[in-house]
Amino acid sequence: MTDMTEAAATAPKRPGRLAEFWQYFSENRGAVIGMWTFGILVLLALLADVIAPHSATEQFREATLQPPVWQEGGSWTFPLGTDPLGRDMLSRLLYGARFSFFVGMVVVVIAATGGILLGLVAGFAPKWLDTVIMRLMDIILSFPSLLLALVLVAILGPSLLNAMIAISVVLQPHYVRLTRAAVINERTRDYVVSARVAGAKLPRLMFITVLPNCLAPIIVQAALSFSNAILDVAALGFLGMGAQPPTPEWGTMLAEAREFILRAWWVVTLPGLAILITVLSINLMGDGLRDALDPKLKRS
């Protein structure tokens, strides 16, 4: 067997998997901008203790509704102004970022884990079980998602934790459908058959053979539902069903300040802007991830 020599010697020069991923990802300029923005936001949230000039809940009664520094009446003590209770907006936004990212993370983890498990089961299960699971998911999907989350929170009682659970439940069917479709697509492939011929039992087939090959679309979905989760939590917070005051959560901040919208634009605009930038950057990044991970879109 001398015939393998040339081929082997040159194989390592091919760009690695990560390099290839990066190449596809970086082709999408929006995705790169999104990634940097998101990275900076995460860094800011992590360093909130160091950067924030004040505590998020400390009230400066003598400086309520102070405008940002560049407006008349602003001061460097409160760079982005204060809210109606005299709390520093910048500090609240920074600490709020923590909540938002935490919420996004937890919701995605819960929804993805549950969704992937159910999707795998549905993909491998006999037809009746598959039908039961999928119809259940259809029922969840047929409700307007925010309404369903509202109902769930109303039943469980308003708190940030319950809001996260409710949003996870609402987002889960997307994962189930996605995983099931990918599993059914992969299940008939030759490599799965050869694993079966090798004697692989169902759990091994599910988790070791098939699941890693279904992950690409799920990762994209995770990135996109991360922003969904942040939005939904903000919406629930705005409706008073999420994080409770004085938690510096962005949606709750919006809700608390909405009566002052005419007098003090910054109390409403700044949290709104924070939500917008975060969601936008994550969505841009998700687009890039799809370009890089979805083999169907891959160009040779």
Binding site: A7, D190, Y191, G199
Partner: protein, 322 residues
């Protein structure tokens, strides 16, 4: 007389399709009454066009599906679901598409070791790895390939990986489902030589499924020609290629282009297309396309019989050659 590695008797597999609320239930006869046996170190080739049931046969023999009728034994043990677990290490498969048959998320080493991991969970990891490396050397892969992912390999090399995985449990029977059809000509000969080497070295029996008659002519000892789920001719390679008896075999041989521009033959032109397996004609399945078909062929089905060189035809070709 050695015991055959596999014997099959009247193997059939029917699928039911449709049968929903509004559609009538239909039966697809993917495979009907296939009988054969393979001795150790021998190659039985199954030849036929798409829809002839050769892949279904592969799925039955590799214990992926149960036959709906008939029986088969592997190394003397009946291939019934109770025995599947113990038989798994006796029979392995290599697929046509070297790109779809390897898990792209696993490294070459762990792909090759997977059957060991499943069948011999108590084997120490180091022993497993050394066995995998041994196997890689045997199929002509280099040691540094162990940690690579399959996407870094060409089709021929991937097929070597697939062969290594199939052989690591030291099976007695290897089902080769079009193992070289997806490969380039120059690579095809490498893989065919490898398969022949391994067969000699390990006394492997091959069930070689192919539509390429020139490859079959090269590797097979015995040949079964299938048409629409039924074996229509069975015999030694010399007999089937030298003196084909079923008209379909004759037509198939004649339709295969030969790489010799000076040989201009009168090709037998088959009319029409393969009938749908949902709607197999009564009588001889080949009758609608056969140029010799008589009334009897359209009403009565010829049986294959047990002769060494048998053809399921009422009016087999005599000694004439294609």
């Amino acid at each position: 007389m050695t015991q055959p590695v596999v014997t099959a008797r009247n193997l059939s597999r029917h699928y039911e399709s449709g049968g929903g609320m509004f559609s009538q239930r239909q039966v697809v006869r993917a495979l009907s009454e296939a009988s054969f046996s393979i001795d150790p170190g021998k190659t039985l080739a199954v030849v036929g066009e798409s829809g002839c049931g050769k892949s279904t046969l592969a799925r039955l023999i590799t214990l992926i599906e149960e036959p709906t009728a008939g029986e088969f034994t592997i190394c003397g043990t009946p291939g019934v679901p109770e025995n599947w677990d113990s038989l798994r290490s006796q029979v392995q498969i290599v697929f046509q598409d070297p790109y779809g048959s390897l898990n792209l998320r696993h490294r070459v080493g762990s792909i090759i070791e997977e059957p060991l991991k499943i069948k011999r969970p108590d084997m120490p990891a180091a022993e497993r790895a050394s066995k995998a490396r041994e196997m890689m050397e045997m199929v002509g892969l280099r040691p540094e390939h162990y940690d690579r992912f399959p996407h870094m390999f060409s089709g021929g090399q991937r097929q070597r990986i697939a062969i290594a995985r199939a052989l690591i449990l030291e099976p007695k029977l290897l089902v080769l489902d079009e193992p070289v059809s997806a490969l380039d000509l120059s690579i095809q000969s490498q893989v065919l030589n490898l398969l022949l080497d391994l067969q000699e070295r390990m006394e492997l029996a091959y069930l070689f499924i192919s539509h390429d008659l020139s490859v079959v002519r090269h590797v097979a000892d015995d040949v079964v020609v299938m048409y629409l789920g039924r074996p229509v001719e069975r015999g030694s390679k010399e007999a089937v290629f030298g003196a084909p008896r079923h008209p379909y075999t004759v037509a198939l041989l004649s339709a295969t282009p030969s790489a010799d521009p000076t040989r201009h033959r009168n090709r037998i032109k088959l009319e029409g297309e393969l009938p749908s397996p949902l709607d197999i004609p009564a009588g001889c399945p080949f009758a609608p396309r056969c140029w010799k078909a008589q009334d009897r062929c359209r009403t009565e089905r010829p049986e294959l019989g047990d002769a060494a060189h048998a053809a399921a035809c009422f009016y087999p070709e005599g000694t004439e050659t294609a």
